[in-house]
C-alpha cells in the first residue's frame, strides 16, 4: 500500500479513512485528528494548564506526547493502583516517558497515600475492580487538579473506548449515562473540566503512534479487567468494523452530533445543588462522597484525604 498523502510505502492502513499512511504522514494524521477534536469540542484554550491522567499505557502516553507536540502546557499524574506487578511496571513506563521527554510527572500511590489498593477495595465493598478503579480515578484526578491549579484533566479515552461505552449505555438505554457521554465535561463548582482529546483516533492508531515514535508502554492488559463487559463490547464492535469499516466512528459521532442533546434532561444530579463532602470537601449529593465512603470501608483506620502530589520527574 502507498501513503495517501505522499505515495511513499505505507506502514499502516486505516480502513475507516479509506487510507494508508507512511510514518511521517501517519504522525501528522494523529496530530491533526487530536487538533480537530480539541477545536471542535472547545477542549483546551491556549495557556490552560492541563493535567494528563497517565497510566503507563499507549493511550495516555501518546496523548501526553501529542498535547506537548501541539504546544499545550501538559503535566502528568500517575495513580498507583496497587495491582501487583502490573502497577509496578505501569509506573515504570510512566516515569521513563516523563524522564525521556523531560516532563513533570506527579504521582499518587493508593496503598501508600490512601491506605488501600484496588483489589482490596473491590473485595471490601463487593463491587467490580473496574468500578472501584473508575471511582478512585475520577475522584483523585479531579481533586489533584483542583488542589494544584490545573484547569483541565485530559484522559486517554479513544474512539474505541467511547464507542464501547456508548454501546453498553445504549444496550441498557441508560439515559443518565447517555446524557453524560460527551468528549468534554465542563467545569462546575468543585469539578475541573474533563476532556478526551483522543476521541477521533482509534486504539490501533495510538498503539501504532507509540511504535513508530519508539514510545515504550505496558503491553500487558490489566489483570483486573480481563473478561469485563467493556472488552466484550470492543470485540463485538471490532468484528462489525471488519465487515463495515467506519461503523464505530459512525455509531459514536452520529450519537454525539444528532442524539446526545436529546438526553440532556436525563442528567439526574444538578451540580449546582451539590453539597461538600465533610471529609475531603469534594462536591457530593450526600454528606460524604462516594470515594471517602469507599476509603472508610477499605481502610481499618480511615483518615482524611489530603491529596498530595509527589515524585515529580523534572
Amino acid at each position: 500500500m502507498r501513503c495517501r498523502r505522499c505515495k511513499a510505502d505505507a506502514i499502516i492502513d486505516l480502513r475507516r479513512h479509506n487510507a494508508a499512511f507512511c510514518r511521517d504522514c501517519f504522525v501528522h494524521h494523529c496530530h491533526e485528528q487530536v487538533r480537530r477534536a480539541i477545536h471542535d469540542y472547545e477542549m483546551i484554550e491556549p495557556g490552560a494548564r492541563v493535567l494528563v491522567a497517565v497510566s503507563g499505557g499507549k493511550d495516555s502516553l501518546a496523548l501526553w506526547h501529542i498535547l506537548r507536540e501541539l504546544g499545550y502546557e501538559a503535566d502528568g499524574l500517575y495513580l498507583g493502583l496497587g495491582i501487583g506487578t502490573y502497577s509496578d511496571e505501569s509506573g515504570d513506563f510512566a516515569r521513563a516517558f516523563a524522564q525521556r521527554f523531560d516532563l513533570t510527572l506527579h504521582e499518587i500511590d493508593l496503598p501508600a497515600d490512601l491506605g488501600f489498593d484496588i483489589p482490596e477495595g473491590a473485595r471490601t465493598v463487593r463491587r467490580s475492580p473496574c468500578g472501584v478503579c473508575g471511582l478512585s480515578k475520577r475522584h483523585l484526578f479531579n481533586q489533584a487538579a483542583s488542589t494544584h491549579g490545573y484547569d483541565i484533566v485530559a484522559t486517554g479515552h479513544n474512539l474505541d473506548d467511547e464507542a464501547a461505552v456508548l454501546f453498553g449505555n445504549t444496550l441498557r438505554w441508560d439515559d443518565e449515562y447517555l446524557a453524560r457521554q460527551f468528549p468534554v465535561l465542563p467545569a462546575t463548582d468543585g469539578f475541573v473540566r474533563k476532556v478526551k482529546p483522543l476521541v477521533r483516533v482509534g486504539e490501533r492508531e495510538m498503539a501504532a503512534y507509540c511504535v513508530v515514535l519508539g514510545i515504550d508502554y505496558i503491553l500487558e492488559e490489566c489483570p483486573m479487567a480481563v473478561g469485563n463487559r467493556h472488552l466484550a463490547y470492543k470485540e463485538l464492535l471490532n468484528s462489525l468494523e471488519e465487515r463495515s469499516p467506519g461503523a464505530k466512528a459512525a455509531f459514536l459521532f452520529n450519537f454525539l452530533d444528532r442524539a446526545h442533546e436529546r438526553f440532556a434532561d436525563a442528567a439526574v444530579v444538578d451540580k449546582d445543588d451539590l453539597l461538600r463532602c465533610t471529609i475531603c470537601g469534594s462536591p457530593t449529593p450526600g454528606e460524604v462522597c462516594a470515594f471517602c465512603r469507599l476509603q472508610a470501608r477499605a481502610c481499618a483506620a480511615p483518615d482524611s484525604v489530603p491529596v498530595t502530589l509527589r515524585g515529580a520527574a523534572s
Binding site: M1, A10, I12, D13, C130, M206, E221, E235, S239
Partner: protein, 65 residues
C-alpha cells in the same frame, strides 16, 4: 516464520501465509484488534511475508473505560 503473540506472550513457528492478512486469517485474529510488526517495522495488512520473518502480532485493545 516466528510469530510472537501476546496476552499471554508466546511464540509459534508457522509457514505458508504469504501476507499479513492471510496470517491473521490463519490465526483467526480480527485485524482491527491488532497492529503487526515485521522485523521491528510496522506493516500494513497487504505486506508480504517470508518464512525468515519475525512477526509480532500486538493486541491494541485495553479494558479500562
Amino acid at each position: 516464520m516466528f510469530v510472537v503473540l501476546r496476552n499471554p506472550k508466546r511464540e509459534i513457528e508457522l509457514s505458508g501465509p504469504k501476507n499479513v492478512e492471510a496470517l491473521l486469517a490463519r490465526l483467526e485474529i480480527v485485524p482491527e484488534s491488532v497492529i503487526v510488526i515485521r522485523n521491528d517495522e510496522l506493516v500494513t495488512r497487504d505486506a508480504r511475508l517470508v518464512d525468515s520473518d519475525r512477526v509480532e502480532i500486538r493486541p491494541v485493545t485495553s479494558g479500562g473505560a
